[in-house]
């Protein structure tokens, strides 16, 4: 399972020549990637009325799984108050990432913010030093650091900085919690997964760790994001009965009235077979009745 968790959705500046999303995704499918995440980059204040601009409803491809991702470019810590679990608008995106631009925001992102990925601008000199202590804290919290390889393919100055910054990051994080993504503006900047593993080896990782960076670590990011969004403090989650598949209906019980109709939410597993037909059962009583 190969993941590419950074495919820019909209061009950053007008000067950037960006390929059609479809061309790039077709190229990814050809290379054997199974999961892609479309990335929407935003600067400025984190607000609570962001709607998900990424539209995947008309791009139904069965070969590849599509996710949505939001990246905030953090310039000032006073703008970050919106990045909390209660912000409903942010929950419409599958993955949440952050790009700090100075030391204070980097420290804030590693210590307190509820995010999945910290993305660093690898194509130019990093404005702050990476320290073992701060990076270690982020790793303990389950946050991943992202290395993007397409800037290295675009031009040679970025290549130098990428190798330098990536080696630094690998040294500081001891090879843990790193993911490699593309950030490709054009289809010709994408590369096959094993080629990326080889690039990882010149950044200081060994081959096994480099392969993990595009497989298991990316999967961890997706699961971390799902846990952050769907569960309450990573313990409890609610699902409506309508989300059950047909071979999971046994969980609800033999009572035919409790089969999903799309309207009511009933779970009468523990109660005897009576004819009660109440429609407005609340979710909390559903929780009591479910198999816990």
């Amino acid at each position: 399972m190969f993941y590419d968790l950074n495919l820019p959705y909209r061009a950053q500046h007008d000067l950037v020549n960006q390929d059609d999303l479809r061309t790039r995704v077709d190229m990814l499918i050809k290379f054997g990637y199974q999961v892609v995440a479309y990335n929407h980059v935003v600067t400025g204040k984190v607000s609570s009325n962001e709607t998900n601009v990424i539209d995947i409803s008309d791009k139904k491809k069965t070969n590849i799984e599509q996710l949505t991702r939001l990246t905030y470019i953090l310039e000032d810590i006073s703008q970050n108050h919106g990045l909390t679990p209660t912000n409903n608008a942010l929950a419409t995106y599958d993955i949440l990432a952050v790009r700090p631009t100075n030391e204070k925001t980097f420290q804030n992102a590693c210590n307190t913010l509820e995010i999945d990925i910290i993305s660093l601008e690898m194509g130019s000199r990093l404005p702050f030093y990476l320290k073992h202590s701060i990076v270690g804290l982020a790793i303990e919290r389950g946050i991943f650091f992202e290395i993007s390889y397409a800037p290295a393919i675009r031009d040679s100055t970025s290549r130098r900085y990428l190798i330098s910054n990536a080696q630094n990051l690998v040294r500081v994080s001891r090879g843990k919690n790193i993911i490699i993504t593309s950030e490709a503006q054009r289809a010709m900047e994408l590369r096959g997964p094993y080629d990326i593993v080889n690039l990882g080896t010149i950044m200081g990782m060994n081959q096994a760790i480099a392969k993990e960076c595009i497989t298991t670590n990316c999967r961890s990011v997706v699961i971390h994001a799902a846990t952050r969004r769907n569960t309450h403090k990573a313990v409890v989650s609610f699902d409506p009965i309508t989300s059950l598949k047909s071979n999971e209906l046994w969980k609800v019980g033999k009572d035919k009235k409790s089969l999903p109709t799309g309207k009511s939410k009933k779970a009468k597993r523990m109660r005897p077979n009576t004819d009660d037909d109440d429609e407005d059962e609340s979710e909390s009583s559903q929780l009591q009745n479910m198999d816990m």
Binding site: I153, R159, M188, G192, D195, N198
Partner: protein, 131 residues
Amino acid sequence: MVRLKHRWILFETLFENTSHQDTSNDPLTSHDIYITVKESIQLNFGDYGRGCTSSSLNGIYYSPHTNIGLLRVSRDYYRMVWCALTFITQINSRSCIIRVLHVGGTIKQCQKLVIEYDREQLLENEDLNDI
């Protein structure tokens, strides 16, 4: 006995404009690929890289019809050459991507893989034509 051991890198070139190479242009030869790889090593790894690989780097085979090629490198520096291949963005001013399919110790293994790969490609094309 100190033998110089090699690695055979099997790669595929993917061009931007069409899915198959346009035969009206000059078809690419293995020599073109060899020159491009040498330039890429010079650009990315400098004189040191050129020195390490000059004695053993050799472009063995390239077919413009299937876009598959074979390169021989010494075993100690094959990763360097592999990275140089990844950083290539154009051959003969045509935009392309090089994807490495297999790195093997013997040429026979690579040959087996080429046959398998060609067979898969033919079957895919047949399916597409049927539809």
